[in-house]
Amino acid sequence: MPDEELLLKKARRKASPEGAVESGVWYPRWYWPSFAAPATIWIAILFVLAFYVVISVAFGTVDPLFRNPLPVYEPWWWSGATFSDVLSKFVGSDAFFLPAAMRTLIYVAAASVLCLVLGYGVAYYVSRYGGRRKGLFLVLLISPFWISYLMRVYAWQSLLTEDGFINDGLRFLHLIPHPVNWLDGRPTTVILGLVYGYIPYMILPIYGQLDRINQDLLEAGRDLGASPIQTFWRVTLPLSRQAILAGMVIVTLPMFGDYYTNDLLGSTKTAMYGNLIDTTINSPGHGPQAGSLVIILVVLLALPMAYYLRTTKRAVESA
């Protein structure tokens, strides 16, 4: 019966504390929105409007003399010439942007899989065997967040130079006859640099989820005859699937816009999509191209971003 449902709904609303506030105290309608207004206006101007300018620049033109972009703010005057030009550089014979885009895909895939494998192992060990050392472990897991990314990658750059400790160590072990220049644009260096930079973001969510798993479930699995591997495969892994997905998204999103890892540890031979944007925006007369590259990236990342926002929203609501 719809009437009954309505009554029930009303009763439930009254019982909930939220309903009580609404019915008990009168707030002016603008009261709570006015709290949120300053930041909302800020974001509207400096994020939403900024993005509109990116589109206007991408679909605008360039001053023929001074080479500065001439954005077009009216959508009906937009010209897609630059944008389709940029798109055409991803395919066909004149695929100038394609190598960097392909590299980005491969590097990001390799680095995020490595992050997952290593990170899962670490998170698993800390959550299950941390014991009395858990506090120390937790600080060690968090500390990379408090050390700037720049410092961490710079530290590796020093270690990887030709007279650096890595070459010293490898030569001491007779693994290489001569010092190797690890920084002359090697995919391995860049991928490992990415792993190093982003793996903390993978470990934390997985650790959080594994730590919440009820140990009784694992014991039940073992009692019912599953081997440790089966228990892991059929109990632990399914229970941590959400965190794995979240970790993958958190790790891959910034990697797609990363240009600094390659700048410090690689060369133009290992340039990634972020480097394309960075060099384009820094070269005069290429404003529309840079805008187009940014738009393409946003469109490609829209799906993972939406997924990430949905899961965090759910996590906040269930907290």
Binding site: P33, A36, I43, F47, L264
Partner: protein, 318 residues
């Protein structure tokens, strides 16, 4: 228990028993492999290896800021040369680096003072203001948080050099606007988490006792939120002093570049241990902010269980 296991195995798999007995060594490894209570040595060494891998490079970089030579990789004795000793190239005497320190502190300090009140008010408002507009504002706020930073940096650069070109000039002002935009969602997330754990009872009690909405926010809610607000101050300061993407696009030239951008540019050219010193300086400022944050956080939440406070603070990182 172990005997029973061995017996079972023999019964279940008679095959191996007929073949010549396996060496003791193999049997021992099998037993070790099958022991459910054995120590996970492989995972353990992976974990300790990871911790060494994640901390050692940074420690080495810090140590080399005290090197007595130009090298970042071969040790030539301890000196304060790159910190204060060298009259031209040390962190505190090189005029460019010296100015950059103040630019770093200026940018992160002002960002913190702007972003935290904005974000806190937004979080409080959004906690009670429901509806489509609120959901949209929340979504956009979080979107700016998860986007790769280069996107926001380029977008703001294009905004300030085109539509706002007579309004905002690249430089300190533009950098602060950019940093606040990027950081404002941090306090929003932290304060909202705290709001959810506080619940609405205290405020209701205050209003039942005759407080107006504003009084109840100011005298009940804000004191309760203080730990989260303070944590936001610490984290926003630490995060914005390290930022080198947005501020680089929005700087008007060498004189408005903070230390982080100087490090970034120097690392691509020919770095000396002065760069290590600069990076160590940033690291120290970040750590001081964070430790101060944790200490105050634990102090103001001392009524709670002690491990809860640290855990909550740590949780803010996620």
């Amino acid at each position: 228990m172990t005997d029973a296991n061995v017996d079972l195995r023999v019964v279940r798999r008679p095959g191996p028993a007929e073949t010549p007995p396996r060496s003791v060594r193999t049997r021992r490894t099998t037993r070790w492999r099958k022991d459910p209570w054995r120590k996970p040595r492989l995972l353990g060494s992976l974990t300790w290896g990871y911790f060494a891998w994640s901390t050692l490079p940074v420690i080495i970089a810090v140590v080399f800021s005290f090197n007595n030579g130009r090298s970042r990789s071969s040790w030539q004795g301890f000196s304060m040369r790159w910190w204060t000793g060298d009259p031209y190239n040390s962190l505190f005497h090189d005029p460019a680096l010296h100015d950059a320190i103040f630019q770093s502190l200026r940018l992160s300090g002002l960002t913190m003072l702007l972003a935290v009140p904005l974000g806190t008010a937004f979080a409080i408002g959004l906690d009670r203001w429901r509806g489509r507009a609120a959901a949209g504002a929340n979504f956009t706020m979080l979107l700016s948080f998860v986007m790769p930073e280069i996107i926001l940096g380029v977008a703001l650069f294009l905004l300030f050099t085109n539509l706002f070109k007579n309004l905002v000039h690249l430089g300190t002002f533009a950098q602060i606007l950019g940093l606040v935009t990027y950081q404002v969602s941090y306090p929003v997330i932290i304060v909202r988490a705290r709001l959810l754990s506080i619940g609405k009872e205290y405020e209701e009690a205050a209003m039942d006792l005759g407080a107006s909405p504003t009084q109840s926010v100011r005298r009940v809610l804000l004191p309760l939120l203080f730990p989260a607000i303070f944590a936001s101050f610490a984290l926003v300061f630490a995060d914005s002093i390290d930022d080198f993407v947005t501020v680089r696009y929005l700087s008007s030239g060498a004189n408005t570049e903070p230390l982080s951008v100087k490090i970034y540019s120097a690392a691509r050219a020919s770095p000396t241990p002065a760069v290590n010193a600069a990076a160590t300086f940033l690291l120290a400022s970040t750590l001081i902010a964070i430790i101060l944050g944790i200490v105050v956080y634990r102090f103001v939440t001392r009524g709670q269980r002690s491990d809860m406070a640290t855990k909550e603070f740590v949780h803010f990182q996620m």
